[in-house]
């Protein structure tokens, strides 16, 4: 029955049937470490790291297989679908997929994950729930990898929810801190709001196409016959059904990827241990929203009419991304918590990826996703190293001068920062440049381009502010506890990530855009001339200028401030206390939600409860009272007026009413006597009836 496997293709070097091993390995590690005793710390860490290393090796094999494009213009794609359970006459099918999109994500997640797992072994060494930490991390890895190999929106949704669970467990890992517990709940609920949209989109897609498999030999929901059918139908407001479904699915991505207006959970998620912030809330899970949109991209771009203009879905994605990019970057300028700055930076960069997706397509967005994963993981792990070295201090105003105390951390952090700012030749430069380039050429509107430029400038500015405060100037922390460099389990992963934060960018330069060629199935040649050709060079110069401008302004403003022994007022605060207050207060979005959504929920809850007790309860009382009254009235009338000779119906009524009224005096004996009598009568009736 449910094991009737179906094969798609037989000629392959890597059978996608075995893709499930990649998530299964960490899942087994999670399961085993859930069951072992809490003191078997070494076993838990070994299991987690070992399973991740194996998963990485298998991912590399899958990646290698995906390098063979079948033909020019065709994307490598292999699927393996199977029945999960029967559904009416048919069955519900799930599947695995291997294509460049999956392959690159698999390698990135397993590699970054492996480094972070190793780093965690050092970072969490003294935590009493060490074992549990690795159990949750492995659970996360399993769900995330499952999400990547899904060839079915349902399977993807299942894993999507499970990464949400892992995120919940890890944010709330230090559960004795009420703030951590609250942040965990907030993250789960906020993302679930988006997930409701995704859920509805999924139901709609399923209802209309009859399948949730992405690719199924021509019958999948992302293949041309289904898309043609979806484009032909109008849902409402003149939008094609494909667009509406794409937008509903995008709701899920907004929640997971922290886009405005559902971004509020991500900065709070920094309550979790720093490796968690690096792995889940910077490099991998939050990028799942971008991955999801990349996966369903055919749905986003499907349209019937004028093909030169972007679809409504693409426009919405672009604008949400652009607004998020600027909005979060602005807030980041006003934050003093080392990790929160990085969190807002992540939100902002995810906005950039969304812009890339809307204006340039999958390759542009994915390139930034991959480079960002490396340099942002680097920055978070660097921040962890700083926090570790500064004895759990997170306020950047109380740091300063750390470049002398922590040289390795400083050097690697600086590389990450330069990559994030988009300084030429670092990875972030190339990927951000592609986004700007595509935004400039976008036929929809020029506004996203300008917003992206502002966002890029602000990014360079706030990162310089942070680096000045943390690494330059003089040390403003506790004089008795000098900061120290972190152990090698932490600095080695930093160094490896730093190397990638530089070299990864060369996979997607205008001269040799190998990455996008591979993703779209168009092998490319190296052509140095393209680097200097018109638009490309101009955009590179512009983006370099923006990055250097932001860094220069940041240095000019903050270098002097960082040199002082203490920071009472931020230089910008002196300039305009009101504006800075708004930035520091995160533009008061959380307060706005507390005053509206949360208050409304409470109000609805109280109202429902009141309705229950007063209205429904009251109605019952009323009905009871009326019955009682009616029965007495009836009794009186019967006794006085109708003296015998009343018809059968009236008698029935009187009996039932009297019975009810007697019940209400709460005497069980009477009630039971009635039942007994009724049963007796019934029996007599039945016996009599037989004759």
């Amino acid at each position: 029955m449910w094991t009737s496997w179906t094969h798609s293709k037989a000629d392959m070097s890597f059978n996608p049937q075995y893709l499930f091993l990649i998530p299964l390995l960490p899942l087994v590690a999670a399961g085993v470490s859930a069951l072992i005793g809490r003191h078997q710390r070494k076993l838990a860490a070994t299991l987690a790291i070992g399973s991740m290393a194996l998963a990485f090796l298998i991912s590399c094999a899958a990646f290698a297989a995906s390098l063979n494009a079948p033909a020019q213009g065709e994307v490598f794609r292999q699927v393996f679908n199977f029945n999960w359970f029967q559904l009416g006459e048919g069955s519900l099918r799930l599947g695995f997929i291997l294509d460049p999109l999956t392959a690159v994500m698999l390698v990135m997640v397993t590699f970054v994950g492996l480094l972070i797992f190793i780093y965690s072994a050092g970072y969490m060494a003294h935590d009493e729930n060490f074992k549990q930490f690795f159990c949750f991390l492995s659970l996360f890895a399993a769900a995330m990898l499952g999400l990547l190999i899904s060839n079915s929106l349902l399977l993807l949704f299942i894993c999507w929810e499970l990464v949400g669970l892992a995120s919940y467990l890890l944010i709330g890992f230090w559960f004795q801190k009420p703030s951590a517990a609250a942040a965990a709940k907030k993250a789960f609920i906020t993302t679930r709001i988006g997930d409701i949209g995704l859920f509805l989109g999924m139901l709609w897609l399923y209802g209309k196409t009859g399948t949730l498999l992405f690719y199924d030999g021509g019958n999948g929901c992302l293949e041309s016959s289904a898309l043609t059918q979806l484009v032909a139908q109008t849902a409402f407001a003149g939008m094609a059904l494909s667009t509406v479904i794409a937008l509903l699915i995008f709701c899920g991505a907004v929640g997971k990827s922290g886009q405005v207006p559902l971004h509020v959970w991500l900065p709070d998620a920094m309550e979790g241990p720093t490796p968690v912030s690096a792995l889940i809330h910077a490099a991998t899970m939050v990028a799942a929203g971008v991955f999801l949109m990349a996966r369903v991209y055919p749905l986003v771009t499907a349209q019937a009419g004028d093909l030169s203009l972007p679809t409504t879905a693409a426009q919405v994605i672009t604008f949400v991304g652009a607004i998020t990019a600027v909005f979060a970057a602005l807030i980041a300028v006003g934050q003093n918590d080392l990790k929160r700055i990085l969190a807002y930076s992540t939100v902002s960069q995810l906005g950039f990826m969304m812009i890339g997706l809307g204006v340039g397509g999958v390759a542009v967005a994915m390139f930034h996703l991959i480079t960002h994963a490396f340099f942002k993981a680097l920055l978070f792990l660097g921040a962890g190293s700083v926090i570790h070295g500064c004895h759990e201090e997170q306020d950047i105003r109380k740091m300063g001068g750390l470049r002398k105390f922590m040289p390795v951390t400083f050097a690697t952090y600086a590389i990450g920062m330069l990559a994030l700012c988009g300084v030429p030749f670092f990875a972030g430069f190339w990927s951000k440049d592609e986004i700007l380039h595509a935004a400039h050429a976008w036929p929809g509107s020029h506004i996203p381009f300008y917003l992206a430029i502002i966002g890029a400038f602000l990014t360079a500015f706030y990162m310089t502010r942070q680096v000045c405060y943390v690494f330059f100037g003089m040390h403003r922390g506790d004089k008795h506890h000098a900061p120290h460099e972190s152990p090698r389990t932490m600095t080695v992963p930093l160094t490896i990530l730093a190397v990638f934060a530089v070299i990864l960018g060369f996979l997607g330069t205008p001269a040799w855009p190998w990455f996008s060629g591979w993703l779209t199935g168009h092998p490319v040649e190296f052509n140095f001339g393209k680097l200097l050709a018109g638009g490309a060079l101009g955009m590179m110069v512009l983006s370099a200028l923006i990055a250097c401008g932001g860094i220069g302004l940041g240095w000019w403003v903050y270098a002097k401030a960082a040199a002082k022994p203490s920071i009472e007022l931020d230089p910008l605060e002196k300039l305009s206390p009101v504006v800075f207050g708004w930035l520091r207060g995160r533009l008061f979005i959380d307060e706005l939600y507390a005053a509206t959504v949360i208050r409304l929920t409470t109000l609805l809850a109280v109202t429902s409860d009141w309705l229950d007790r007063v209205l429904w309860g009251g109605m019952v009382q009323l009905v009871g009272g009326c019955t009682n009254l009616f029965s007495r009235l009836n009794l009186t009338i019967d006794n006085t007026v109708v003296n015998g000779g009343f018809d059968q119906g009236c008698e029935g009524l009187r009996e039932s009413a009297g019975w009810l009224s007697r019940l209400r005096n709460g005497q069980l004996q009477n009630y039971l006597r009635t039942i007994g009598a009724a049963l007796f009568v019934l029996l007599l009736f039945l016996i009599w009836g037989r004759q």
Binding site: G88, E161, L162, F175, Q176, A181, R192, D609, L663
Partner: protein, 518 residues
């Protein structure tokens, strides 16, 4: 088909057990409990054996049919299809689970446990009888032990809660009985299957009108609707559907732990079962006529109860409202399946998804909700009767296993994929959304609010700094772990391999769809 009366035997096991336990020496308290558990486990083993010998080919199995009171058309008619069997299995699992969770019963334990066995017999009878008279007998039989269990062993407000429970259900039952008397008068049969056939041919309305029409009822429609409402009321109270639900929070909250578990785990399914077994096949036309109001009621049940749960302070009342919410999805699915949207295979797919989802949800909710009440009982036991959401804090520090297993239960209840709750809810929504998009869309609010509720419970009770007064809190003992472990294991198994259940119910679902499209 079968010569051996399997289903009668199944019902007799707890019945005989109940009588034996009731006759024991009142001094032998532990023995009474153990014996009762042995009987319930025997019933479980028998039910499991039936489950595995069941051939999922769509027909009724284990049929026992004999004339009982021929002149009145009363037959002894027992049989099982996928749905019956699933519910029998659920009841057979829940009863020993509830008994094992009732270790602390001190007041007259032999009576307590024998009432449980009578209740089990009532449930088995209800889920296997196909003749109204016979079925109704068991329907009412299960009510009486439940009443006494609340009344005698309940909390402070037990008397009021027990009466409310009894009167409410009784009023519903009386309405249903009157309707069936009318139906019998018109058709001469009590047989559910025969009645569904008559209704399928469209002859029920006219038969009713020929017999009872006249001064009060001017048209066939009104009369049939009147009869329908009577039956509907009986089930709507039992499930319950807002606004017939006010008995439930009090009954669940006041009942002793084991009884709450059975009330929510097994007895609340009687109502849903009635909707599928009786209302849907016999009154599809009437349901369609008032479909919009019915859907509104289902949606209101889902949304209101979710919000009302959020306003509660007592963990048991929270779980009670959450239980209403979860059964609301079942009704949503059933009502959606009653709709006609054109003819064709498409809507058949949606309907089968909705009905499969409903049946899965019934079973899954039974497991999850009873486990939830079991945990609340354990909390109450350890805290000396406290069970307010604000009475605790930080318990995860001293009771990690408790928190972990309760966490799994809560996440199963909020529909986390990978655990059992998800598949049922997904299929209900998958079926409902294309048939009635608005109802499905509004109902998703319930999914969200339930998540808020369950995570709030975890947050308030288990996280934050540990309160001083609970520093001596004991984690789950190995006996408690053993009691709960099988149910938790089932949550995982059914979440990952729902085919185990679907394989059995699918032919039943297809049969129902066939009937509905007549």
């Amino acid at each position: 088909m079968n010569s051996f009366p399997f289903l009668t035997t199944l019902t007799l096991i707890p019945l005989i057990g109940g009588v034996i336990v009731a006759c024991l020496n009142p001094e032998r308290k532990q023995f009474a409990r153990r014996l009762a558990i042995v009987f319930s486990l025997a019933a479980l083993a028998f039910a499991v054996a039936l489950w595995f010998s069941f051939k999922a080919d769509g027909g009724l199995q284990f049929v026992e049919r004999a004339a009982w009171i021929p002149s009145l058309g009363i037959e002894y008619f027992l049989a099982a299809d996928g749905l019956s069997l699933l519910m029998v299995l659920l009841a057979a699992i829940i009863i020993p689970f509830a008994m094992l969770s009732s270790a602390k019963i001190d007041k007259n334990p032999k009576l307590y446990f024998s009432l449980f066995l009578f209740l089990e017999a009532g449930l088995f009878g209800t889920f296997t009888a196909l003749n109204f008279f016979h079925w109704f007998l068991f329907w009412e039989l299960s009510l009486i032990p439940a009443f006494f269990l609340i009344k005698v062993w309940g909390g402070k407000e037990r008397t009021r809660a027990a009466y409310q429970f009894f009167i409410y259900t009784m009023v519903g039952s009386v309405a249903m009985l009157l309707s069936f008397l009318a139906i019998h008068a018109a058709t001469g049969t009590w047989d559910f299957i025969a009645l569904a056939e008559i209704a399928g041919k469209g002859e029920l309305k006219s038969a009713l009108f020929a017999k009872l029409g006249g001064t009060f009822f001017e048209s066939e429609q009104t009369l049939a609707m009147f009869i329908f409402v009577g039956v509907f009321l009986g089930f709507a109270v039992k499930v319950p559907l807002i606004p017939f639900h006010t008995w439930l929070p009090a009954a669940y909250a006041e009942a002793p732990t084991g009884t709450s578990m059975v009330l929510t785990g097994a007895m609340s399914k009687m109502g849903v079962y009635g909707f599928i077994r009786i209302l849907l096949p016999i009154f599809p036309e009437q349901m369609r006529e008032v479909l919009t109001p019915l859907l509104i009621l289902a949606v209101a049940t889902i949304v209101f109860s979710a919000f009302a749960a959020l306003a509660q302070k007592d963990l048991k009342r929270m779980a009670a409202y959450s239980s209403i919410n979860h059964l609301g999805y079942c009704l949503l699915g059933i009502f959606a399946a009653a709709q006609i949207t054109g003819v064709g295979t498409d809507s058949a797919t949606e309907k089968s998804a909705a009905l499969s989802g409903v049946m899965l949800q019934m079973f899954n909710h039974g497991l999850t909700a009873s486990a939830l009440f079991c945990f609340i009982g354990l909390i109450e036991q350890r805290s000396g009767g406290l069970r307010g959401i604000d009475d605790f804090g930080g318990l995860r520090k001293v009771a990690p296993a408790f928190c972990g297993l309760l966490g799994i239960t809560l996440f199963a209840s909020l529909g986390l994929p990978g655990l059992n709750g998800f598949i049922g809810e997904f299929l209900i929504f998958k079926g409902t959304f294309p048939l009635v998009p608005w109802a499905a869309a509004i109902s998703t609010v319930g999914l969200l609010v339930t998540a808020v509720l369950l995570l709030t419970i975890l947050q308030r009770v288990f996280t934050g700094p540990l309160r001083k007064e609970w520093s001596g809190w004991t984690d789950l003992t190995s006996r408690e772990r053993l009691t709960i472990a099988p149910v938790i294991a089932l949550m995982f198994i059914l979440g990952i391999f729902p085919q185990i259940v679907i394989g059995v119910i699918n032919p039943t679902v297809l049969n129902l769809i066939k009937q509905l499209s007549l």
